[in-house]
Subunit: 394 residues, 2 copies
């Protein structure tokens, strides 16, 4: 035991920011496999104290750690069976990206499913939330999550997006639906909302309960091929190897450029969706929302395109101040809803104040705070749950 | 150079079955990132000699190897920058599962996208095939790949499948389509054909070229929850934690049981598809095919359900002998096509002979051999390319 602590202290010198791994003796012994594990994989596990227990077999390694993305690092301890084990401090409920560090190699945990975040496909663990029922797969009618390729004139490539269609879409053959364009965060991609965001289950459950109107959700990639970082497009050409930007898991060679994404969205994607899906193709039936970077994009793109969008959602991505709205008359006429949300562990004070000011200016606005969560997916799953029922009600 | 060889020889004692890593000096220096890499990841790479060059940063490791699933292991060599590098012998064209072994830990390569095979989500590398154009993403009308959940009465769970709908499905609102049920191989799942199988691109390209009739493809998971290995169902209960069998990446707690899968397919899935998609819901418009284990399932299920299926495809999964057909009169009346394929590096002699015998018995049968491939996905992509144009022509 003392040796373990000494080893941990030594390891902390090597790894920098470190938390001491909790020994198994003091953690509640009700660990269960994370719901995001691969089939039949027992680790990582989570207990009732919201601690994560990791385990990886690495018999010849000298140093193994568990590292939350942008968070704490926990050294693991080697057992006689060649497996390294460790327990973290209690975590917030919800979804957490992490990686293993094995003798300096940053690798995914072979026990988990993989998710795109932090600009890489990697591991994640789910700490069960008390309200997890709202994003559970239930015996209700299910919508479909569809992989869709669309041609982008502005980038001369074929790009991928995902489209959620509600449960009755295939049965109500002549019915048309409103559309929400829903963007991921920085370092994530078009798979985020459909996978770790649980968008299909959240919507299926809301619709089955009569809480949300059935509508289509389109999830695209905010990173546009050939666009450089920053707010001005450059003359950097698109990738010359077209296959390199067209692999199944997500195009490569992309950078964040809101102007470039706005062109793809307005000129390529919206028209493609309106031609290939049974949409209500007018401004009053089109919303845009996003989380973090996607929220910033929404704040930039939707107000500049009020002929296209009527409902605006910004999740952990800032807010709209009255003073930033250039033409208040048009904004009041066109915008049916401004929704702003934050996790309670983020600083949402300015967002809340801005929402109040918008309401006083006569613009219907709603602020939501997710209890006991930070800049993480449980905040955004809940934000979608709160936002969706407010859409397309006018 | 001599030191490298000595180290490699020493490493071979540790790793068992080993191939000597080719040094960079003797490999053609035209390496390019594999098309299955994550965005902006440069490794693994493949050169014109079909060699794979791997690289992973693991500064404190003492032993790092590149290991093809079920194939050779190549020790990597540490450079002064803390990165381990190595080059494999030339590989067959196509898709190859592999993993990294870092000081004994079997982990995915952080450079690649991940694919389900070998009963785990892990890495793969693509050696460009001379005929890769047939499964490339092109400027043609694209179908959709849809994630669909269906309720399974026989297992009392909600199961996931993927459904490919052809490009005109959303535009020809009253048109109905034939359906192919297409199964993955052992250790794989319902994601295989849509991801590493490139089914959507293969079909989009065949349909655009007028080579295949547009039809729907349904890809389910052959492993049924609560069913044990073997040909007889047991009384093993389904997993009690329903969330554990319902995660995005694939249900857990499953085992292979052809009888259990046949029940799911015939009693749950086919009815669900016929209600929720615009199918031509009769025997003459329904096909079943599969690769390897999926081919064995097809040989077991389709001939036993000739009121349901008219076209049969078996890829690298054995073949149908005339002597195994119990009721030849019914078989001849009901079966419009038997298709059998193998890679040229597999032993397809019996399959070819059986196809000839079936033809002589008056049953339309086709044999296809994929040049220079083994029991791998390029064999099966090509098999689909050859099989699809033959379907639903009567």
């Amino acid at each position: 035991m003392k040796t373990d602590l000494l080893l941990s202290s030594f390891a902390s010198l090597l790894f920098g920011q470190l938390c001491l791994a909790q020994t198994n003796e003091t953690a509640a012994e009700d660990f269960k496999p994370s719901s995001l594990n691969q089939p039949n994989k027992q680790y990582p596990q989570v207990n009732s104290e919201r601690r994560v227990r990791a385990r990886v077999v690495a018999p010849q390694a000298t140093n193994v750690a568990f590292q939350f993305l942008g968070g704490s690092t926990y050294p693991l301890t080697k057992g006689e069976d060649g497996a390294w084990v460790g327990v973290t401090q209690p975590q917030d409920e919800g979804f957490h990206y992490y990686q293993l560090v094995i003798d300096g190699a940053q690798v995914p945990d072979p026990g988990t499913l993989y998710f795109y975040g932090g600009s890489r496909w990697g591991s994640a663990v789910e700490v069960p939330a008390k309200d997890q029922d709202f994003y559970a797969l239930k015996d209700v009618p299910h919508g479909q999550l569809r992989q869709v390729f669309f041609h982008s004139k502005s980038t001369t490539t074929n790009l991928r997006c995902f489209v959620y269609t509600p449960p009755d879409y295939e049965k109500e053959i002549s019915k048309r639906y409103p559309v929400l364009y829903l963007q991921h965060g920085g370092g994530e991609d078009e798979t985020g909302w459909g996978s770790q965001g649980f968008t299909p289950f959240i919507m299926d459950n809301l619709i089955a309960a009569g809480k949300a109107r059935p509508f289509i959700i389109v999830m695209a990639n905010s990173y546009v091929p050939g666009a450089s970082f920053g707010f001005a497009a450059t003359n950097q050409p698109p990738p010359t190897d077209s296959r390199y930007s067209q692999t199944i898991g997500g195009p490569g060679g992309r950078n964040y450029n809101p102007a470039a994404f706005a062109r793809v969205l307005i000129e390529d994607l919206v028209p493609h969706i309106d031609v290939n899906f049974r949409t209500l193709a007018d401004q009053s039936n089109r919303a845009m929302a996003g989380l973090s970077m996607g929220g910033m994009q929404t704040r930039a793109i939707a107000p500049a395109n009020l002929d296209k969008f009527s409902h605006i959602g910004v999740f952990s991505g800032g807010s709209l101040a009255v003073t930033n709205i250039a033409d208040m008359t048009t904004f009041k006429e066109k915008v049916k809803l401004v929704f702003v949300s934050y996790g309670s562990r983020e600083n949402g004070a300015a967002g809340k104040a801005n929402v109040e000011a918008l309401n006083q200016a006569g613009i219907k606005s709603v602020f939501y705070e997710s209890p006991n969560t930070a800049h993480e997916w449980l905040t955004w799953r809940r934000s979608l749950r709160e936002f969706a029922p407010l859409l397309f009600r006018d």
